[in-house]
Symmetry: C2
Subunit: 455 residues, 2 copies
C-alpha cells in the first residue's frame, strides 16, 4: 500500500503536538468545572431540517449516506453538525424535563464544515463552548459570569496575548433607534463591514442601504470607533447626544460586563469595550464578544459569542442563553505548526527503566510497577542494548530519567537513577523515589517567535 | 419548534450519566499514560478506498457528501471510520518517519457503523484502543505488555466482573496442521460458530466444509473445550497427542501471556486461556483475546484484540502490532441505562454559595473565587431566594455543601458552611476551607443490580 498523504482541511497532530492540544483541553475542562459547568457530549449528527436553515452555511454541511444503501434508500437525512450550538439547543429541548435550570454546560468536540481549507479554517475543527441556559428567563448576571469564566480559562493557557472585545446589541440598536434610523438590521449589516472597507465607503453605504442621512451615518461611525479598556465609553457615547431607553440598558449592561471581567483579566488576557463589534446577523440580543489573538489577526476572531434570548423554543417555553465559544483548532493548529507551542517529550514516560539482559525483564518490570504505584509514568526498554544506546533511546523521546536496576537481579540493593539532562546519577529505591513534580508529566512550552503576517 | 426525539442508534447521556463516562475515560487515559502510551486522535474520515475492502463491514460505512454539492461533484470520497485500527494503521504509515518505534499509543474516540441498532450496538460508539507497533519487527514481550495494561486499566473501573479469554492463532493453526487438516481457514471459520451451534453440528460442518475426518473433527472440538485460568492447558493440549512446531510456539506464547497477566488480574478482572477463541477471519497472527462481562453475556464481547504481524505495510517496511480495544459505549450505555452506574451529582460543584440578597452578589462571588483558588468547584445561587429554597436547589443537584456568607456584607466574620446531608453547620474561612477529598468531585457508584437476561 502506498504511503498515504495528509487530507487538506483535516489536520492531525504528531504525539508531542497532540500533547499540547490535550493539555489545553484539560485546562479548559478543569476551569469550567471549577465554575460548576457540566461537561456534555452530543452525537455528531443532526437531522438535516435542524441544520439547514437556508443560510450561507448550508452548502458546507456534510450529509451522510450509507455506502451500499438499499435500493431507493438515498441519504440518511442526517448531517454532521457545523457548530456546537445547534446540537446543544436540540439537547436542551429534548431533555428539558430532566435538566436543572439555570443549566451550565461546557462542550469540547469537533465540528465539520465543507469549506475551502486555509490557515485557521479546517473541515474538521475542535471547539470549546460554554453556555448558561435558563427556563423562561435568565438573569443578566449570567452574562458577566460566562465572560469571566472564559477569560479565566484562557488566562491559564500558554497562548499569545488575547483580547476580549465586547459590545452589546441593545446599545447598538438603542443608539440607531434614538438617532432616528429605521432599518436597524441593514445598518448593523453595513457597520459590520468596517474591518473590510474604509470608513467613507461604509458611511456612503449607510446612506444608500440603510436610509441614513449623512449626519446619521457620521454618528454611527463615531459610535463604531469607540474602543476603550474601561467603562469610559459610557460618557463618550452620552457625548454623542443620542437618547434612548434601550441604549441606556445596553450601556449599563456593557459597563457591568467590562467591569465584571476586569478583576479576572490582566496579564495575557485583556478586556475592551469595542463598539463596532456586532457579530453579523446572528441571533444575539444583548452582550456580544469576539476574541482576537495578538500577532494572529490574520486568523480573524479565535472565539466569540453572546446573549441570545431564544436559544431554543418548543412553542411553550423559551430557553434564553448566553455563551462563548473558543476555537481550539483555529488557535492551536497554527501555533503548533509554527513551533510556538511545543511539548517537552513525545511520550508520557518520565522514566525509562533500562534492561540489563532479556532474562532480567522481570526485574525491570518490577521497578516499573513500583514506580507506577507512586504515579510515575514509565516504560521498560524494548531490548537489552548497551546502556549508552538505551540512554539515547530516552533522549530521543525527551524522557528525563533512566533507571538502572542492579546487574544482579536477585539483589534489592544497587538501583541507580540518572537525570540524563544533567548526567547526575544517584542511588534510589523504586518503592519511594519520585521525580520532581515538574518532570512528572510532559510540559508545554510557549516560544514566542516572531511571526510573519501572511499577505 | 416541536420537541425533538432521540435518534435510534445515537445514544446521548444526561449530565450525571455523562460524568460516569468521563470518569471512566479519565481512568483509562491515566492508566495508559502510566505505562508510557501516547494519546493520539485521528480525523474521523478516511478515503473510501482505505475503508471499503469488500468485506461485510462495507455496507455499514457512512459516506460524506456536501449538502449542496456543485454540479457533478458527487460524494466526497470520504467515509466515517468504523473502528480505530484502520485510521491508526494509516497514521503510522503516513507519519512513520516522524514516530519513534516501538510506538505505544492509545486512542479514545467515536466510530460509526450504519448497522441495525440494538442494546450494546450503536451507530455512533466510543472505543478505547491501545496498540504497540514496531518498525520491521516487534518482540513477543509486547503481547504480554499490552494485555497486562488493559487488564490493569479495566481493573480500575467500577464494572461488573470482566474476563479476558485468551488464545493464540499459532496454537490453533499448529494444532490443525499437526492433525493433518489442510484448509485451516475453513476450520477456523467453522469452529468460530461454537457459540451459536451445538458441538455435533460444528463437528459435521468440519467434515463437510473443512475436509476433516470425523476423528479430526472430534480432536478440534476437544481442543476448543479447553478453558482454564492457569497454564495447565499446555498439558491438556499435549495429551491430545498432536505434534507441530507452530503449536509449540503457540503454547509457549499463550502460557507466557496468561502467566504475565496473572499478577495484574484478580478481583474484578480474571484471565483465562479459552482455546475456542479465534476472532473470526481477522488479520490476527498470534495472541488473540476477547473480553466478556459477567451478567452481560448478551452483549457478546465488550472488547478484544490480538497480534497482527502486518498492521501496516508500505511495500518497503512492515509494521507489526499488538493491541486490544475496549468498547466504552457498548459497556457503559447498558450499565448506565439500567442504573448500575450512577454519579453522586449532576454538576461538578461541591459547594453552592448562597446569596443573601441580589446586592450582595459580589460577596458571594468573592467566596466562590476564594474556594476555587483552592481547587474547590462551586457555583453561586442564581437568585436570593429563602435559604430553604437555596438548600433544596443544592439538594436536587446533589451538591453536598451550602455556604452562607455573613448577612452583613462588610464583615469578614460570620461565614458558615453546611453539610446538607448531615445538617452539620460550622464556621469557616473561604480562604482555607476545603471539603473532604471524597466530596471534591462527583463520585461514581456501582450498584450491582440483578440484571435479567434478555430472551
Amino acid at each position: 500500500m502506498a504511503r498515504p498523504t495528509p487530507l487538506s482541511g483535516f489536520p492531525e497532530l504528531l504525539p508531542a503536538q497532540r500533547h499540547v492540544e490535550a493539555q489545553v483541553v484539560d485546562t479548559l475542562r478543569s476551569t469550567f468545572e471549577l465554575h460548576g459547568f457540566v461537561g456534555i457530549e452530543t452525537r455528531v449528527v443532526e437531522p438535516l431540517d435542524r441544520l439547514a436553515k437556508g443560510g450561507e452555511i448550508d452548502k458546507e454541511i456534510y450529509v451522510l449516506r450509507r455506502l451500499q444503501a438499499e435500493e431507493g434508500e438515498g441519504d440518511s437525512g442526517l448531517g454532521l453538525h457545523f457548530d456546537l450550538t445547534v446540537p446543544f439547543a436540540r439537547y436542551v429541548l429534548e431533555n428539558a424535563g430532566k435538566l436543572d435550570f439555570p443549566f451550565r454546560r461546557y462542550q469540547i468536540q469537533p465540528a465539520w464544515r465543507g469549506e475551502r481549507p486555509q490557515e485557521g479554517r479546517y473541515r474538521q475543527f475542535t471547539q470549546a463552548d460554554i453556555d448558561v441556559v435558563g427556563h423562561g428567563e435568565l438573569p443578566f448576571h449570567h452574562d458577566i459570569e460566562v465572560m469571566r469564566v472564559m477569560v479565566e480559562a484562557l488566562s491559564r493557557l500558554p497562548l499569545p496575548p488575547l483580547s476580549f472585545q465586547l459590545n452589546n446589541r441593545k446599545l447598538i440598536q438603542g443608539f440607531y433607534r434614538g438617532l432616528g434610523l429605521t432599518d436597524l438590521t441593514a445598518a448593523i449589516r453595513v457597520i459590520d463591514k468596517l474591518d473590510k472597507l474604509p470608513p467613507e465607503v461604509v458611511a456612503d453605504q449607510l446612506v444608500e442601504l440603510a436610509d441614513a442621512t449623512p449626519e446619521q451615518a457620521e454618528r454611527c461611525l463615531e459610535l463604531a470607533t469607540i474602543r476603550v479598556a474601561d467603562t469610559s465609553f459610557v460618557d463618550r457615547v452620552r457625548a454623542l447626544g443620542v437618547k434612548d431607553e434601550l441604549l441606556d440598558v445596553g450601556l449599563a449592561e456593557l459597563a457591568a460586563v467590562v467591569e465584571g471581567c476586569a478583576a479576572t483579566a490582566g496579564g495575557q488576557v485583556t478586556v475592551e469595550a469595542n463598539l463596532r463589534i456586532a457579530r453579523g446577523l446572528d441571533y444575539y440580543t444583548g452582550t456580544v464578544v469576539e476574541i482576537f489573538m495578538s500577532g494572529y489577526e490574520r486568523l480573524k476572531s479565535v472565539g466569540g459569542g453572546g446573549r441570545y434570548d431564544a436559544l431554543a423554543d418548543d412553542g411553550k417555553t423559551t430557553y434564553p442563553g448566553v455563551g462563548v465559544s473558543f476555537g481550539v483548532s483555529r488557535t492551536l493548529i497554527p501555533l503548533i505548526a509554527e513551533g510556538v507551542l511545543t511539548s517537552s517529550r513525545s511520550v508520557p514516560s518520565a522514566v525509562l527503566v533500562a534492561l540489563v539482559e532479556e532474562e532480567s525483564r522481570g526485574t525491570s518490570d518490577a521497578v516499573a510497577t513500583a514506580l507506577r504505584a507512586n504515579g510515575v509514568p514509565c516504560e521498560v526498554a524494548p531490548a537489552p542494548q548497551k546502556f549508552g544506546k538505551q540512554i539515547r533511546f530516552a533522549e530521543r523521546r525527551g524522557i528525563p530519567f533512566v533507571w538502572f536496576p542492579p546487574a544482579d537481579q536477585n539483589s534489592a540493593e544497587g538501583h541507580q537513577v540518572k537525570d540524563i539532562r544533567s548526567g547526575e546519577q544517584v542511588g534510589a529505591d523504586p518503592a519511594t523515589w519520585t521525580p520532581p513534580t515538574e518532570d512528572l508529566t510532559p510540559s508545554v512550552t510557549s516560544t514566542r517567535v516572531t511571526t510573519k503576517e501572511h499577505p
